[in-house]
């Protein structure tokens, strides 16, 4: 009998263990089905932003095109890139091929931890839609979202982001036009830096026209970087002059680094 009671007491220990264990660590990585399947533009925004990161002090760094080797491409005629990027970018359009830019540069190759969760879309090497629509992209509003690399980024040569700018083309079909926006990429580490750049004349609702944007991380303080966030500020969106309530979004397809090393 005593033994039984002792055993039962041991079993009771299990309960606090289970309670402590139940923290739902993956809760941010799973999303309701509506985010990819509802067909309603407003449901598709991914807005998770870690509360602790939102409140952190951030130092703003406004990037300069020459100094920070900022590169952008809007169409393949308007290709503006540094020499370094030129070599890498030669296979930009072959994102499914093993030797394409996407598959060779994708972050999940260097860091398996980013394969988990909704945001893994940004690290799978798929730079373009390929008619997967909502399934291939992360749709964000101006407030953006935050996520984590799950490991510490020690160094990298440059950072890149492949995205499209769009307004709700299901509800309202404006023709392709140009938008002006400031893109903010924040890296959270020992210190937090928000890298901002004004992109003028970003094609919006322009079909299969993607924006490939990035900049050099040379000289940047990457100490302790584990988390990041991406957001933007609309400076000029002509569609909003027609309908102020129309939803604008950045459709993100891929985010990565050149030569990243993780601890």
């Amino acid at each position: 009998m005593k033994e039984e009671i002792r055993m039962h007491k041991k079993m009771l220990l299990l309960i606090p263990l289970l309670v402590l264990a139940s923290c739902g660590a993956q809760a941010n990585n799973i999303v309701p089905s509506s985010i990819d399947r509802s067909g309603n533009w407003d449901d598709n925004y991914y807005t998770y932003f870690d509360a602790s990161l939102k409140n952190k002090e951030v130092e703003e760094i406004v990037l300069e095109k020459e100094k920070n080797k900022v590169f952008t491409t809007f169409t393949d005629q308007n290709f503006i890139a540094q020499e370094e990027m030129g070599k890498d970018i030669s296979n930009y359009y072959n994102d499914f091929m093993d030797d394409g830019f996407g598959q060779t540069m994708k972050l999940s190759k260097q860091n398996e931890a980013v394969k988990e969760g909704f945001i893994s879309k940004l690290f799978d090497g798929q730079l373009f839609c390929h008619q997967y629509y909502e399934l291939s992209r992360v749709q964000i509003n101006e407030e953006g979202f935050s996520s984590s690399f799950h490991k510490e980024l020690e160094s990298a040569s440059y950072l890149y982001l492949n995205f499209k700018s769009a307004v709700d083309f299901k509800k309202y079909r404006p023709a392709a036009h140009l938008t002006s926006l400031k893109i903010h990429i924040t890296l959270y580490g020992e210190k937090n830096y928000r890298y901002t750049y004004l992109l003028d004349e970003v094609p919006t609702n322009a079909g299969e026209t993607y924006v490939f944007y990035g900049f050099s991380l040379e000289g940047m303080d990457l100490k302790g970087v584990r988390d990041f966030s991406i957001s933007y500020t609309l400076v000029d969106e002509p569609a909003k002059k027609v309908d102020p309530n129309v939803g604008h979004a950045l459709l993100l397809y891929e985010f990565g680094f050149k030569n990243p090393s993780f601890k």
Binding site: M11, A21, G24, A25, I30, P32, D36, E116, K121
Partner: protein, 451 residues
Amino acid sequence: MENTDQVSLGRKICLILVSVIFLLMSFSLMVNYIFILILLILALGLTIYLAFPYLKKFDVVSSLIYLIPVFSLALFYAIGNFSRSYVDVATCVMIPIVMTLFGVLGMLLFRIPKFEIKAVFRGIFIGLALVSLINMILTLYNYGPFHGIRYSSYYSYYDGTISKEGLPSTAYALCGLTIKQVPIQYYLIFPTLSLGGFICFFVKNDARLWEKIVALTIGSIGLISIIFVISRITLFVSLLSIIFTALVCALFAFKIRPSNKVIKIVLIVVTVLLGVGFIFMLMHAQGGLTGLREFVSSVPLLRYIFVSNRFMENNNLILNGFFSPDKLIGFPVLFDEFYEANVYPGYNIFVNQFMYAGIFGFIFMIIIVVMIIRSFLKVKDLTIDSRVNKYMPFFFIALFFIYSFTGDVSYIDEYEFARFAFTPINPFFLMCIMFGGYYNALVNERGNKNA
């Protein structure tokens, strides 16, 4: 005196070896077949050494009766289209050897004097409960409790791709040395099988108090692990096993001992139902019988069972190829999205036999199951062995096969077939082979003595 000590020590080492084999397999650590083979040969060598003085009356013929279907099933796995397209040659050669050796191990184990199979079960169940506990904590850590209900319309993503089924169909588990997101059928294997611990509790004339407490703990961990991930899928997968365990516990608790006649009637009814259900499923899966398909689609219950649920999709695809000559020895595995007719294992071990080993594999599987049931009916009336020794292996086997009707035991990863001790041969099936051998030998050896 020395001899007795030696035998006693040898016995202990032997059961530790056997328990360790299955414990390591439960942790998916023995994905390399050479590793299993080495441990198995060690255990076998030790068993033969310990049992050698008692092997004089070794009845080769009756042993072959069990080993031949086992070897044949294994052979068809090895040469089947599935293995040839998915598995390396070395592992294919291993399969018949390993499976048959497990059968032999079972046959020899009971011959060691005072060897109690319940000690092996202790090791196995403790391993199962440990794995269940770890997986439960991992799942709770990542999703929180009752995620099947809280996140019933949520999806998870891996490497940029949305999971085919929703979040309730996944859980977290320790696979080898990595923590992964796994299909819930894999998560549920361990707690469902460890429900067998509850049955141990009721064989009270043989068990000491601490043994009963261990049995209760093991069963409870299993049950709690299932409850925390409860969802429509969990109920579908585990409910039958829970009901079976509860039924058997009730039989023990109220000291109801159904006569062989009653058991036979129940078995016949169940077999007929399963047989008819299977033939129906088979016919329905063939593309040509549109009249039957229309009939099934028009009746909501039938439609739910045979068509609409996620489990039947693969079953139907596999059974569709039942009468194709090129699928005689199983299905090739085609993973690449550019290939057509990509068939994945269904959620039913019997249907999967077609895929792994073709129609002959299916036939030999049935033969093995029939032999085990037959052996159990004979063994249960023997007065010679303790009740735990007699009943435990059968309940474990029965629980495994009941589970296999609803939850497949081969998947770990939705995106690639992980080598859970190789897909068609999982550790629990090997245990069934071993215990089947144990029963077969018991019947042939001691059944004759009793007669």
